[in-house]
C-alpha cells in the first residue's frame, strides 16, 4: 500500500533523474527542437566564424585554403580596418559614458517622486522602441546641408555658423554617435529607474533624517547601491556601441561623404567585406575580432556579478 503511494508520488513529481515517459516525450518534442535550433543558429556559427577566420573562403572561389595568420596580419595593414577600428573605439568611448551619465541623471530626477513620472518615462523611452531605419533617416534630414536641415536652421536662428554635419567626417561620426545615444538612452533610464525603485526607501529616509541633502543621498546612497545595475548598463552599452551598424549604414548613404569610408565602423566593415566583396574568410576574421572584444566584456560582466552576489 505504502509502496504504491510512494510510486504514485514519484510518478507525480518525477523525482530524481528519472523522467516519466510522458515527460520524456514532452522534452523531445517541445524542448529538444528549440535546443537544436540554438546549436544550429548560434553555437555552430560562432565556432565556424573562428574556423573561417583562418581561411580565404570566398563565394567566388571554389578552393578554400587554410591561412594560419594571414587574415589577422592583413587586418593590421588594412587602412579600412584601422579606420573602422578607430571609429568603433571612438564610438564606444563617447557613446557609453554619455548613455550611462544621461540615463542615470534622468532616472535619478524621475525617482524624486515627480508628477507625470510615467509620461516623462514614456517620452524618454520612445526612441528606443522605434526602429533605427526611420529614426536615422529623420536625423539625416535634420542634419541636411544648408538651411534645409533643421540643425543648421536652428544654428542660424541663434546666430551661429553652419556646421557641415554630413560633409566633415569628424563631425559626421559625432553626429552618428549622437543618434545612437539618443536612441539608447531610454533603455538606461528604465533599467536605472527600476534599480532605484528596488532600493528600500528606508535607506534614503535614514540619510535624510541625518540631515543629508537630496544630492548627498544620491551620491552616497543611490549610486553605490545601484552599482551592479550600472555595471550591467556599461556592458550593454559597450556591446551595442561595438556592434552599431544601421545608423552608420543609413547615414553614409548618398551623403557628401558618399562612400562612407571615413565613418565606417567594425560591423559596416564586416558587411562590406562579406556581403559586397564576398570575402567571407576575411569578414570572419573581423567578426572574430568583434566577438573576442564582446566576449571579454561578457566575461568581465559575469565575474563582476558573481563577486557582487557573495
Amino acid at each position: 500500500m505504502e509502496k504504491a503511494l510512494l510510486r504514485r508520488k514519484r510518478v507525480a513529481v518525477g523525482v530524481g533523474s528519472r523522467l516519466t515517459w510522458g515527460q520524456i516525450g514532452f522534452l523531445w518534442t517541445m524542448v529538444m527542437p528549440v535546443i537544436a535550433m540554438f546549436i544550429i543558429i548560434r553555437v555552430i556559427p560562432i565556432l565556424v566564424v573562428l574556423l573561417m577566420s583562418f581561411t580565404n573562403y570566398s563565394l567566388h572561389r571554389p578552393i578554400v585554403k587554410f591561412l594560419p595568420y594571414k587574415n589577422f596580419l592583413r587586418m593590421f595593414g588594412d587602412p579600412n580596418f584601422i579606420t573602422a577600428f578607430v571609429n568603433s573605439t571612438e564610438f564606444v568611448l563617447i557613446a557609453v559614458p554619455a548613455e550611462i551619465f544621461l540615463g542615470l541623471a534622468f532616472a535619478i530626477f524621475l525617482n524624486r517622486k515627480v508628477k507625470f513620472e510615467s509620461l516623462y518615462e514614456t517620452l524618454y523611452f520612445l526612441p528606443y522602441i522605434v526602429p533605427m531605419v526611420p529614426a536615422a533617416i529623420i536625423w539625416k534630414w535634420i542634419y541636411a546641408p544648408g538651411t534645409y536641415g533643421l540643425a543648421n536652421y536652428l544654428l542660424d536662428k541663434v546666430g551661429l555658423p553652419h556646421v557641415g554635419w554630413m560633409s566633415t567626417p569628424q563631425i559626421s561620426l559625432l553626429a552618428v554617435i549622437g543618434i545612437h545615444v539618443w536612441k539608447q538612452i531610454g533603455f538606461f533610464v528604465i533599467i536605472f529607474l527600476v534599480g532605484l525603485k528596488n532600493i528600500p526607501g528606508s535607506f534614503r529616509e535614514a540619510a535624510l533624517v541625518d540631515g543629508a541633502t537630496p544630492w548627498e543621498v544620491t551620491r552616497h546612497v543611490d549610486i553605490p547601491l545601484l552599482k551592479p545595475v550600472i555595471l550591467f548598463g556599461v556592458v550593454m552599452a559597450t556591446l551595442w556601441a561595438w556592434s552599431a551598424f544601421t545608423e552608420v549604414y543609413i547615414i553614409s548613404q548618398g551623403t557628401d561623404i558618399s562612400t562612407g569610408a571615413e565613418i565606417q565602423v567594425m560591423v559596416t566593415r564586416i558587411y562590406a567585406e562579406g556581403f559586397l566583396y564576398f570575402k567571407l574568410g576575411y569578414a570572419s576574421a573581423i567578426s572574430f575580432a568583434l566577438f573576442l572584444i564582446s566576449l571579454i566584456f561578457v566575461v568581465v560582466q559575469f565575474r563582476l556579478l558573481k563577486t557582487e552576489k557573495i
Binding site: F38, V114, P127, I129, V130, I142, Q253, S294
Partner: protein, 279 residues
Amino acid sequence: MIKRHLEKKLSGRIGLHLFLGITSFLTVSPFIWVVFTSFKPSNEIVTETPRLLPAVWTLENYLKLPKVAPFMRFFLNSIIISGVSTFCIALGSAACGYVFAKYRFRGKDFLFGLVIATILIPLQTYIVPLYLLTWKLGWINTYQGMIFPLIIMSSGIFFLRQNIMSIPDTLIDAARVDGATEWRVFFSIILPLSVSAIAAISIVNWVYTWSLFIWPLIVANSTEMFTMELGLMYFQREFAVDYGGIMAACVITLLPVLAVFLIFRTRIIEGVAFTGIKR
C-alpha cells in the same frame, strides 16, 4: 522660515519639471517635426524659413506612396516575419521554461548553460556563417531564410523559467495524479499561469524583429521580399530629394510600433527592464 523652506522646495520642484520637461520634449521633438512635415506640400518643406505647422495641410505625400513603392507588401512581409518569429518564441520559451523550471534530469544544467551562454553575443559577430548556412540551404530571399535565425531567444527562456518556478509544484502534481498528460499540464496549467510573462517577451521580441535591419538587408534581395525597414531604406535612396514622401514613409513605418508601444506600454517597459536586469 517655513515659508522660505517651502518656497525653496517649490522652486526646486519647478526646476525639476523644467529639466524633465525640456529634455523629454527634445527627445521626442524629431518625431513631432516629422509628423507635421509629412502633411506639408513640398514648397513648404524645402524652404529657407521652415515652420513647425503646415500652412496648407495635404495628404499628397501619403497618397503617392503606394504608387512609387509597394509599401503594403513590405508591411505584410514585416508582419509575417515578426509574427512567425514571435509565435515560435512564445511557445518555445514557455516549453523550455517549464522543463528547465520543473524537470529534473541529467544534463539539464548543461542544456540550460548552452541556452544562456550565447545571451549577450551580438548577431553581427556570427552573421557570416549564418548567411553561408542560409545560402547552402537555398533559403536566400525566402521567408524561411529571413525568419529562422529569429525563432530563439535566450532571455525569453530565462524569463519564463523564472516565472514558472513560482508556480507551486503541488498544482502540477495534483494534475499529474489526476492523470493529466504533460501536454495537458503544459497547455492547461503552465500556459494560462504565465500569460503575462509570455506577453512581455512576445512584445519585446515583436519590437526587436520589426526593427531588425542587418539580417533582412543581406538575405532579401528582391523588392517583393523587403520588410518595412528595407523598403524605407530603398525608398529614401531612390527618392533622396523627395523629403515629403520620405517623411510620410517614415511615419507609416513608425506608426505600428508606436501603436503597439502605447497599448502595451507597461508590459514593454517591464519586459525591457527584465531583459536588462537579469540575474
